[in-house]
């Protein structure tokens, strides 16, 4: 094998690899953009806003930690498509959320509504705050009591004396 051939081979291989990568990544990137990106046309900016808000507020029931905006799952794609179609048909955000809740349950809402079975969920931060406040108040009160005590008690005095003497 001549030196020139040995040089030419990697260069050709690199070029081939580059083309391969380009040919492979470009359609893949476009596919992702199509799947995740927003669909074509909206009649108005308000519709686009509604769509963008809703897909960030609905949960993908397959991949339960994700909104349908983030999720790659087929079902999330179906749900985005339905949100888009219903928005285009002039349905309100509330109607679309109700549609999803009727089929997949309250769980599809990333922002749970305030209702009987979610009261504890909504109230728990405030309950924790109250509990923390109570503990804090206790500590402060005890420290204040201690600071306000002017002198040692007779027992404490005796204890100090003992300590001094043992030195």
């Amino acid at each position: 094998m001549t030196a020139r051939a040995a040089e030419g081979l990697p260069r050709r291989a690199v070029a081939a690899l580059a083309w391969l990568l380009l040919g492979w990544l470009l359609p893949a990137g476009m596919a992702v953009a199509l799947a995740i990106g927003e669909p074509g046309d909206f009649d108005s900016e308000a519709d686009r806003q509604q769509y963008q808000t809703l897909i960030r507020e609905l949960r993908c029931t397959v991949c339960q930690g994700e909104t349908i905006h983030e999720s790659n799952a087929t079902l999330a794609g179906d749900m985005r498509r339905r949100v888009y179609e219903m928005t285009r048909d002039g349905q309100s955000a509330a109607a679309i959320v109700d549609f999803m809740v009727a089929r997949y349950g309250d769980y599809v809402r990333y922002r749970p509504p305030l209702q009987a079975n979610t009261v504890l969920l909504w109230a728990s931060p405030f309950l924790l705050l109250l509990a923390g406040g109570a503990v804090w108040w206790q500590v402060v009160r005890r420290r204040r009591d201690m600071a306000q005590r002017p002198t040692f008690t007779p027992e404490e005095r005796a204890a100090l004396e003992r300590l001094h003497r043992s030195d």
């Binding site: 029931t61 397959v62 339960q64 087929t74 079902l75 179906d78 749900m79 339905r82 809740v101 009727a102 089929r103 997949y104 349950g105 309250d106 769980y107």
Partner: protein
């Protein structure tokens, strides 16, 4: 002063209790809002005949199961022998073939068992959305009026069939007979 030293112990035990309950909950299983509601409407073609239109009415009239399946769903394949047993026991099973290809699904049924009485072909998952499908296989139990009485997300098991599905079918059939007489 003594009871105060017990507070951390009680708190830790309470936390462990909560975690233990949490461990036993299956977070993937979501309660279906469709139980107690009529079978959702759809208009699809029959799997074996693109000319034949099926609607939810084709699923109702008697106590029946509706199974959502696909050839790409391996759990559905694993579940099918149980469905065969149910079908042989005289329980009508209808199906929604979900996000599948017609030829593939037909060929699959040709070379394996077919427990289904009616199969609606739903390549785009439109009926799937109406029925709140999110993880195949899913199985619904309809009463004679076409109201969903039970829904299972995921495969049926022998235990589930014995303990839940069959008793419920018996109950619904008795109710149907009593209503008819």
């Amino acid at each position: 002063m003594k009871w105060r030293s017990l507070i951390p112990l009680v708190a830790v035990l309470a936390l462990l209790g909560v975690l233990l309950v949490g461990l036993n909950l299956n977070s993937r299983e979501l309660p279906s809002p469709l139980v107690g509601k009529p079978a959702p409407a759809f208009t699809l073609t029959a799997l074996e005949d693109p000319e034949r239109i099926l609607t939810e009415k084709d699923f109702t009239g008697e106590v029946a199961l509706v199974n959502v399946w696909a050839t790409w769903c391996s759990t559905c394949r694993a579940e099918k022998p149980l469905l065969m047993e149910l079908a042989k026991a005289g329980i009508p099973i209808h199906a929604i073939n979900y996000r599948d290809e017609r030829e593939v699904a037909l060929r699959y049924l040709e070379i394996s068992d077919d427990p289904y009485r009616t199969i609606a072909f739903d390549p785009k998952g439109d009926a799937g959305m109406e029925w709140g499908v999110y993880a195949t296989p899913e199985t619904y139990l309809l009463d004679a009026d076409g109201v969903i009485r039970y829904k299972r997300t995921g495969p049926l098991s022998r235990e589930l069939i014995r303990d839940v599905v069959l008793p419920l079918i018996d109950k619904l059939r008795t109710a149907q007979r009593e209503a008819a007489s």
